[in-house]
């Protein structure tokens, strides 16, 4: 019962923080924190599944988040017919050739032995690579030449945007399967470096392959599951309702849209949280924790450790992919240049550690709390600096510099929080039972 009490207290306090933001700053800002908090909580659940349940050290979260974002474009944007005619089939043929040459290289490696093996594998890869480039490159040029300022890419499938969330999960799961197949079974630090690398590569691909999602030219105006504020402001029934509630219609429309997202996100979070809780308390969850705590013993008991690791790695990454798709939907645009590892990988780790690794509720709490602090510290920083430097003259160079760079305090604060929690409460705010 005391656990229950303490958890309710934590979540109640968190709710108060967000409500306080609404009362004293603005409800728009409060809903912004709530929405991103919900997404962060889902991300933290995904990482907690990998780290808390299975002890897998994945620092490639950013890559899976970005893949989720890519899924939104590929699913929901209307297809560009002209680009498809220009080289759609050829691009796909090129990709298939690329995939086929990798598969046949693996096959050659497995079938041959000795020196023939090395030479054969390299030869297959080289031939495959040049064949792939020969088919692929002209198609890419043709596609990117179609109205480069407006489209210059293949477009998506034109399906409802909500469908892109599960698609984002699938895309991330597929990538995770490939990574896991090669990198799992390595020591934990090696897995960390490998995932760090794959995340950078995914971002590099998204920045450079303009035919796919316009690269750094960004895709704007993604379809939304919510109506546009402008349309609401012109709808007479909406204006009437807003006025009867005593809210200015413009504010009301933004709040309405944000609240709609909150409801959708909450539904996803609850779904994933319930699934994760059930999984944690099922025999499967107990087996995972047994593997985490002692791999050798679990293996001796006949558990297939590598397979189980692969399974949970794929599941956790899929959750990150879903969250990534949600985030891009909320933003309404895909900007590959904005993915930063500190924000999308390491910050999620801070959430999991601070919340309590191995505990789903802890991960959710960590997601909300850390995102709240991450947003607020940027605002509080300059105020605090103003206060600290109150004795200095207003044109003092040091004072100006301190106040201007105070916004960078938030990274520092996150580091301090992480270190303090690791030192004094290494099991997090809501520890694993």
């Amino acid at each position: 019962m005391s656990d229950m009490m303490r958890n309710s207290l934590f979540f109640g306090a968190m709710a108060l923080l967000i409500i306080g933001e609404g009362m004293f700053v603005s409800w728009n800002s409060a809903l912004f924190i709530l929405n991103f908090g919900l997404i962060s909580a889902i991300l933290a659940l995904g990482v907690n599944l990998q780290w808390g349940f299975a002890g897998l050290f994945n620092v490639g979260v950013m890559g899976f988040v970005a893949l989720g974002g890519l899924a939104v474009v590929l699913t929901s944007m209307p297809p560009v017919g002209e680009a498809w005619n220009a080289g759609g089939v050829r691009v796909i043929a090129g990709l298939l050739i690329g995939a086929a040459s990798v598969v046949s290289a693996v096959f050659t490696y497995k079938k041959l032995a000795g020196r023939a093996r090395a030479i054969g594998t390299v030869a297959v890869l080289l031939v495959g690579f040049f064949l792939y480039r020969a088919v692929f490159d002209p198609a890419v040029q043709a596609i990117e030449a179609v109205n480069p300022a407006g489209t210059g890419y293949l477009g998506g499938l034109g399906l409802p945007v909500l469908l892109s969330w599960p698609v984002g999960g699938l895309l991330a799961a597929g990538a995770a399967w490939l990574v896991g197949k090669t990198a799992l079974g390595l020591r934990s630090d090696y897995l960390a470096i490998a995932t760090l690398g794959i995340a950078e590569i995914i971002i590099a691909v998204m920045k450079n392959e303009d035919w796919l999602a316009r690269g750094v030219k960004n895709v704007n105006g993604l379809p939304r599951p919510m109506p546009y504020e402008i349309d609401l402001q012109q709808s007479e029934s909406f204006i009437a309702t807003a006025q009867s509630l005593g809210i200015d219609p413009v504010t009301a429309s933004t709040l309405y849209v944000k609240l709609g997202y909150s409801v959708l996100f909450t539904a996803v979070l609850v779904l994933i949280l319930v699934a994760a809780q059930l999984a944690l308390h099922s025999p499967w969850g107990r087996m995972m924790r047994a593997i985490r705590d002692n791999e050798v013993a679990a293996e001796a008991m006949g558990k297939d450790v590598t397979r189980r690791h692969l399974q949970i790695f794929v599941l956790g990454s899929a959750i990150c992919g879903i969250a990534g798709a949600m985030m891009t939907t909320l933003d309404g645009q895909l900007t590959p240049g904005s993915y930063q590892p500190l924000r999308y990988t390491f910050l999620i780790w801070v959430m999991v550690i601070v919340g309590g690794s191995g505990n789903n509720l802890g991960a959710v709490l960590g997601g909300f709390l850390i995102f709240y602090l991450y947003t607020k510290v940027e605002v509080w920083g300059p105020d605090i600096m103003e206060f600290v430097t109150i004795g200095l003259a207003d044109d003092n160079a040091l004072k100006i510099h301190l106040i201007e760079s105070a916004a960078h305090m938030r990274l520092l604060t996150m580091g301090v929080i992480l270190l303090l929690v690791l030192r004094f409460s290494p099991r997090g705010l809501i520890p694993e039972k």
């Binding site: 002890g55 050290f57 690579f129 090669t182 990198a183 390595l186 020591r187 934990s188 630090d189 090696y190 960390a192 470096i193 490998a194 760090l196 690398g197 794959i198 950078e200 590569i201 590099a204 920045k207 450079n208 590892p341 500190l342 390491f346 780790w349 801070v350 550690i353 760079s405 105070a406 960078h408 305090m409 938030r410 990274l411 520092l412 604060t413 996150m414 580091g415 301090v416 992480l418 270190l419 690791l422 030192r423 290494p426």
Partner: protein, 336 residues
Amino acid sequence: MDFLNGFVALSNFVLIPAIAYGSQLALGALGVTLIYGILRFSNFAHGDTMAFGSMLAVLVTWWLQGMGVSLGPLPTALLALPLAILGTMALVLITDRAVYRFYREQKAKPVILVIVSMGVMFILNGLVRFVIGPNDQKFLDGERFIISVREFKAMTGLREGLAIKTTQGLTVVVAVVCVAALFWFLNRTRTGKSMRAYSDNEDLALLSGIDPERVVMYTWLIVAALATIAGTLYGLDKSFKPFVYFMLLLPIFASAILGGLGNPLGAIAGGFIIAFSEVTITYAWKKVLKYWMPEPLEPDGLVQLLSTDYKFAVSFVILIAVLLFKPTGIFKGKAV
């Protein structure tokens, strides 16, 4: 003549940049590998330690420039290095006292130390941005070139030019001096030998009376010096931007793992292999091949295997290949 022209083009665009970049990576990888060998964890904060050290170097350089001090043809940053190294040494020693030592005493698992180093990474990253801001900073002065393209062409009469930047020459010279000093220290001095003994077998080293705290302290001091030098050289050669050092983490780790984590010689070899692969695979070979291939075979395209934006992919693929086929690296590293 054609062969010479081709070779000069190759040197200008591939060999010289790769040697300079390789030296910078090697110095960075040495730091990572030493921490791994002695403290037994992968230090994610290494990139930001480099950023911190270079930031100090930039600040001291500005101060020296303001006082009118200069080294003539050489960058003033060289004069700033010793002070910057001292500052970074102070920083890592404070970090070790305040953060890492607690976990060492607890005999925490390596992965916990990695997470702790993530926290340190955040703090250093924030600190650097706080002090100097997230933007590009220029601190290079002195002569820009040892040989410029025009001089070289006039000297040799070749069609292709060769340029060697002062910073490239400087990088190689400083790197050679550092590595020589490091190996002399590790192989010839008492402290160096105790460091290697501790790295090879902790229990045996403790039994023979080696003070672990002393070994750890010296390791941090050396790592601080290496990180500052590597970071400053990189900053001089390219440009100083805090975020770039974080991105260097991947090729640096790839170099260290490729050579065998915990093995200093391997770190150097790994640095050069990674640098050469990155540059050769992302270089457009047309310029060189047009001299070396017979007329009818001359390539039409750029003959660039991958666009430069994929250079991370190169280090990554090499890394994965090594991990799959030879997990202890080329030179035998520690396989824990």
